[in-house]
Assembly symmetry: C2
Homo-oligomer: 337 residues x 2
């Protein structure tokens, strides 16, 4: 049998348990040529999934009603009808919220190491890579530049902060709890931090922390935070749109007003999808990130929920900012090799 979480209706506003259903189906073990059957071990829970179930335009087609919720995961090959994979290989790909995934070989990547495979969903996966390419390729920081990062304790933000520090920037984080502020200031050791939930005048506080203006903004949020940063950019600022979580629960993103500042400041606002735009450079980037993790130049947190049926709860927590570290779901205790 294959247990899976399917979408039963398109959520409007915050997701609810009733938007999903856990079902069991007979597992199909008859594969077509080129297909691979994967035992799913870990699932990545990402804000982007809120977009995929909404039906909005994204880089991945919307999840259809009645179908398994799409998502990145790591697992282990149990049957392969592709010469590229064999039984026992650990793989990464869009496996979906289910125990077993039948995927075409072209959509799978072998993991470079079998140690801590869940890392390939976080610091060495899409979120770490988003931070890596967003900072090094789009923002291209120069020494002493001022970088602001929103969702700074999150899976993308926390890595972006640390790459920014390594590149010599003054890094200011924006996050949503005092516990996260503490971690960013005392463990990650960035230069300043704002809890936007208790902050009355975000733009003013940014100005105080960055009196000469902001060169780089790694945006994971959009909306009011983006607008407050825009009010404080300086000449040739680069704003990197990694995500816009403030918009994902709604049909319409929260408005921004300060975009004309980009004219006077010759600023660039650039969006990207690491999965689409940089996939041919993942291997080198993962090697670099691994090295930084080994050297303890990058520290990272994982927030684990146990059991496939907790995937909807995990996504709700991510959307509410209640996770602390990369949110992942362990589908099985340990894959049997």
């Amino acid at each position: 049998m294959n247990k899976k979480v399917i979408l039963v209706n398109r959520p409007r506003g915050p997701i609810k348990d009733t938007d999903f259903k856990v079902v069991s189906e007979l597992l199909n073990t008859v594969l077509k040529q080129g297909e691979v059957l994967v035992r799913v071990e870990w699932l990545s829970i990402d804000p982007a999934q809120r977009v995929w179930i909404s039906g909005k335009i994204s880089y991945i087609p919307p999840v259809a009603i009645g179908k398994v919720v799409n998502g990145f995961g790591v697992g282990y090959v149990i049957i392969s009808k592709s010469p590229a994979f064999k039984k026992g290989n650990f793989v990464f790909g869009l496996l979906g919220w289910q125990e077993f995934a039948t995927v075409h070989a072209s959509g799978l990547n072998k993991l470079p190491s079998y140690e801590n495979p869940q890392r390939y969903l976080g610091v060495l996966g899409i979120t770490g890579l988003t931070a890596y390419f967003g900072v090094t390729e789009i923002a291209r920081p120069q020494k002493k530049e001022v970088m602001i990062v929103s969702s700074a304790a999150g899976a993308v933000g926390s890595i972006a902060c640390q790459i920014g520090k390594m590149k010599g920037c003054k890094v200011i984080g924006i996050c949503g709890s005092n516990q996260k502020v503490d971690w960013l200031m005392n463990v990650v050791k960035i230069d300043g931090c704002i809890n936007y939930k208790t902050e009355k005048n975000l733009s003013h506080t940014i100005r105080k922390l960055c009196p000469d203006g902001v060169d780089i903004y790694i945006d994971n949020v959009g909306g009011k935070i983006l607008d407050a940063v825009l009010a404080n950019i300086r000449k040739n600022a680069r704003i990197v749109f990694c995500g816009a979580i403030s918009s994902y629960d709604n049909d319409k993103a929260p408005p921004i007003h300060n975009y004309p500042v980009a004219i006077a400041m010759s600023a660039t606002l650039e969006g990207f999808i690491v999965w689409d735009d940089y996939q041919n450079r993942f291997e080198l980037a993962v090697r670099q990130l691994s090295r930084w993790v080994q050297e303890k130049k990058i520290i990272h947190r994982e927030h684990v929920l146990e059991g496939l049926e907790n995937a909807p709860k995990a996504l709700a927590m991510v959307m509410a900012g209640e996770n602390f570290g990369k949110m992942i779901v362990r589908v099985v205790e340990k894959v049997r090799l």
Copy 2:
């Protein structure tokens, strides 16, 4: 005597006659070393001036209350205390709304030709150059790409449309009157045109005219038109912020909501100030634009008001979209060489 138009209070909302006053002062002909006294012949009237008198952040410091309104102009040197200029030279620079301007030589450029000097305020001036660098350097169009231009009959937009056509794009204009639509379709000969004032569902109409999406948007407006275009961009779209006229009469720009599309579409939104960012390349660009004008590959319109005292009226017309062509004010009938 020197007649000048001074700012008497910062306008809120549309500008009024009472925001300005025409005064006469004794002309100071005693110059400091390096200064040049210029007889102003033509003034450029530009939406950016609405920003300069508002006190908002711009690339030029705000005009102080009681001071002459700042603005680009062309004129002729009558006294020079700089080795760079001599009596009789035609020059371009920030001359301001006045009959005579005392300017430091470093802020002046000699005109390459004395024929039709007012062209150096339009097609061969800041607006033509904004279109030139916005299209060729920021948008970098490829053949068969789809380009939308707002304020398409305006001083920047009309030149951008024609450069887009020369680069092989399908060009769709957005403008505010049927007379402008006619001119763009039948004289400038672009591929499609929308009168946004009579259009009920702009986003839908853009989708009909550009069923495969928009690659390039030359934005002179911001606000609702920007939002409607964002809803229709395709992968790797480039949005060039040349101006945001919809925001200049207000403290706050009209909101946009569709910026998160830039993530899924890996799009870039980029602002620039041609005066700041490309000044070292003006000479070559003016030569290219002149050639295109001579070869009739670029046609352009000028909208002339006579008399310095009409400068405020000219700016009000530009802000209301009532001009048709580059708005300029003739300060004197003809400069006496």
